[in-house]
C-alpha cells in the first residue's frame, strides 16, 4: 500500500526569496492533519505547490505513488473562501456541481446523476435547503460549507483544505470538524491549514509544523509541545499556561 502523499526536497520561491525550503515528508493513510505555522510560513504555498498551481524550483511530489497528473481524480481541494468572487451569478448547487467537472472530461456536461450527487453532498454539510440560493446571499459559514460540499463532490481520497475554519460561525466550525472526522473514519486523508492553536489537540491526530522549513510532522501529542511551537513561531508565541493549551497572544 503506497502512502497517499510523499514530498521530497520541495523548494518554492517568489521573486527569488524562498517561501518553502527543502521540504520532505510522508503522510500515511487515514490521518486528519493540521498544517500549522505563523503568517508567511508557506502553508497555503505548500498546498498550491503540491497541486502544481504554482511552480516549484526543486522537489518531487507523489500522490498514491504516482504523479498528480495521473491522480487528480483522487484528490480534493478547498481553496481559501476569499479567493473567489461570491457575487458570481450562480447558486449553491451549481458551485457544488463544479466538483464533478474533474470526472466529466472535456465535452460532457453534468447530468441528473451529477446533480443528485451534488445535492447529497450539500445535505452532508446541512445545506440542502439552500441549494438554489444565490451564493452572495449566503453567510460566510454557509459559503464555507458550500466549498466543503464541492470538495465532497470531487469524491476524493486525499483532501487539501486551505483555512476552512476562518471567518465561520461556531455551528459551521462544528459541522465542518464532524465531517472531517467522518472522512478520516472512512480511511480518507485530510490536510487542513489551521490557525487556532486552541483547537489543535481536539481536532487533529497529526500536525505539521511549518515555518519556511519543515519543523516537524507527526502525532499531535508528540509535536504539540512548548518547545516545538516556540521553534515554529519564534517570538510571536506567548504561552499563557505552559501545561495546558498554549494560546497565541499576538495577532495571527
Amino acid at each position: 500500500m503506497t502512502d497517499p502523499l510523499t514530498v521530497k526536497n520541495l523548494t518554492v520561491a517568489y521573486q527569488k526569496s524562498p517561501v518553502l525550503k527543502d521540504i520532505s515528508f510522508r503522510v500515511p493513510e487515514g490521518k486528519l492533519i493540521g498544517i500549522i505555522g505563523p503568517n508567511g510560513a508557506g502553508k497555503s504555498t505548500l498546498i498550491k505547490a503540491i497541486l502544481e498551481l504554482i511552480p516549484s524550483i526543486t522537489g518531487e511530489v507523489e500522490i498514491f505513488g504516482d504523479s498528480y497528473k495521473n491522480t487528480r481524480k483522487r484528490v480534493g481541494y478547498v481553496p481559501q473562501r476569499e479567493s473567489v468572487d461570491w457575487d458570481f451569478p450562480t447558486d449553491a448547487l451549481d458551485v457544488v456541481m463544479m466538483g464533478r467537472y474533474g470526472h466529466l472530461g472535456w465535452f460532457k456536461r453534468p447530468d441528473k446523476k451529477d446533480k443528485a450527487y451534488a445535492l447529497k453532498c450539500l445535505q452532508q454539510v446541512g445545506m440542502s435547503q439552500y441549494a438554489n440560493r444565490q451564493i452572495s446571499q449566503l453567510s460566510g459559514g454557509q459559503q464555507q460549507r458550500v466549498f466543503l460540499a464541492r470538495a465532497l463532490a470531487q469524491d476524493a481520497e486525499l483532501y487539501f483544505m486551505d483555512e476552512p475554519f476562518v471567518g465561520v460561525d461556531a455551528a459551521t466550525e462544528k459541522a465542518i470538524i464532524t465531517l472531517l472526522m467522518k472522512l478520516k473514519e472512512q480511511g480518507k486523508t485530510v490536510l487542513v491549514v489551521h490557525h487556532d492553536l486552541n483547537t489543535v489537540k481536539e481536532y487533529f491526530d497529526w500536525i505539521m509544523l511549518l515555518n519556511v522549513n519543515l519543523i516537524g510532522i507527526g502525532p499531535t501529542e508528540e509535536l504539540f509541545t512548548k518547545e516545538f511551537l516556540q521553534k515554529t513561531y519564534g517570538g510571536s508565541l506567548a504561552m499563557l499556561d505552559a501545561n495546558s493549551s498554549p494560546i497565541i497572544v499576538s495577532p495571527r
Partner: protein
C-alpha cells in the same frame, strides 16, 4: 432592405460581443476588452497593407494575433512588477498609437479612413456585397460578423463548463486539470476576432460598449450565468434595433446611437433591478 441589413449587422455585432463581455465582466477584465479593441488597430492596418482589402480572413487573424500579443504583453509587464492598470494602459495606448501612425503614413496608398476605423460607418455596409458565381449573397459585413458570432456560440457552448469554472475559481479549475491559461487566451482570441469583425460597423472604440455594457446590464438582472448571457444578447439586439431607428430619426451616427441606447438600458437596470442602487444592502462576506 437596407434597414434590415443594417439592423442585422448591428444585432450580430452586439450579440457576438456581449456574450464574450459576460465573461470579461465577471473576470473583472473589462479594461482588457478595451485594450484589445484599441490595440488591434495596427493589426488591422498591417493586414490591410499586406492584403489590400478590408474583408480578408488574413486581416481577421492578423488582428487576432495582435490581440493575443496585447494580452501577453500586459501579463508579462504585470509579472515583472508593473501595476496592472498601468501595464494595460501602456500596452494598448502604445499599440494603438502605432496604428494611428501607420494609417497617417500610408493614407494615400490605402483606402482606410481613421474616422471609420474608430467610429465605424454601418450605413454603407449594405452596399458592400459579397458575390458568389456572379450572384450577390448579401453584404460582406453580415458574413464576417455572422461568422464571428457563430464561432463564439460554438466555442462557448462547447466549453461552457470550462469557461465558467475558470472564471469563478481558477485555482480549483487548474487543480482539476482544466488548462486555465489556454482558455484565457482562447477567450482573448475570440474578443480580438469579434472586435476586428465589428470595427467597420460600430468602430474600434464603440465596440467596447457592445462588449461591456449589455453584459454589465445583464449582470444586474439575473443570478445565473447562462441566463446572463442570454439577457446580454437580447439587450444588445434591442440596442441595435432602437439605436438604428433613433439614429435614423435624428440623422446621427448609427453605431454611436446603438451604444448610447445600451447605456440608457444599463441606467434603467441599475435603478430598478434587485441588485441595483435601490437594493444594494447585502450580506458582508466576513474575513
Amino acid at each position: 432592405m437596407n434597414h434590415v441589413w443594417i439592423i442585422l449587422i448591428g444585432a450580430l455585432v452586439g450579440s457576438s460581443c456581449s456574450m464574450l463581455g459576460c465573461f470579461l465582466v465577471l473576470r473583472k477584465m473589462s479594461m482588457i476588452g478595451d485594450a484589445i479593441s484599441h490595440s488591434v488597430l495596427p493589426g488591422i492596418v498591417i493586414a490591410f497593407l499586406i492584403s489590400g482589402s478590408r474583408d480578408s480572413l488574413v486581416m481577421m487573424f492578423g488582428a487576432a494575433a495582435i490581440g493575443l500579443v496585447t494580452v501577453f504583453l500586459i501579463q508579462m509587464f504585470q509579472n515583472s512588477g508593473v501595476q496592472s492598470d498601468a501595464s494595460i494602459g501602456v500596452v494598448f495606448t502604445a499599440l494603438f498609437a502605432v496604428g494611428v501612425v501607420l494609417i497617417s503614413l500610408y493614407t494615400r496608398q490605402v483606402d482606410l479612413d481613421l474616422d471609420c476605423v474608430l467610429y465605424g460607418e454601418i450605413a454603407y455596409a449594405p452596399w458592400d456585397t459579397l458575390h458568389v458565381g456572379g450572384h450577390s449573397i448579401g453584404p460582406k459585413a453580415v458574413w464576417g460578423v455572422g461568422a464571428s458570432f457563430l464561432l463564439n456560440v460554438l466555442v462557448i457552448s462547447l466549453f461552457f463548463k470550462q469557461f465558467k469554472i475558470s472564471t469563478f475559481d481558477p485555482a480549483l479549475a487548474a487543480a482539476l486539470g482544466i488548462p486555465v491559461v489556454f482558455f484565457h487566451y482562447l477567450l482573448m482570441g475570440l474578443v480580438s476576432i469579434s472586435t476586428v469583425a465589428s470595427f467597420e460597423s460600430v468602430g474600434a472604440i464603440l465596440v467596447v460598449g457592445m462588449i461591456i455594457v449589455p453584459a454589465a446590464t445583464a449582470y444586474l438582472l439575473t443570478d445565473k450565468l447562462s441566463t446572463m448571457i442570454v439577457i446580454s444578447v437580447l439587450l444588445s439586439i434591442i440596442s441595435s434595433v432602437l439605436g438604428y431607428y433613433i439614429a435614423f430619426l435624428l440623422d446621427a451616427s448609427i453605431g454611436g446611437t446603438m451604444v448610447v441606447v445600451a447605456g440608457v438600458l444599463f441606467l434603467i437596470a441599475l435603478f430598478f433591478s434587485p441588485k441595483g442602487v435601490r437594493h444594494h444592502v447585502k450580506f458582508s462576506h466576513g474575513a
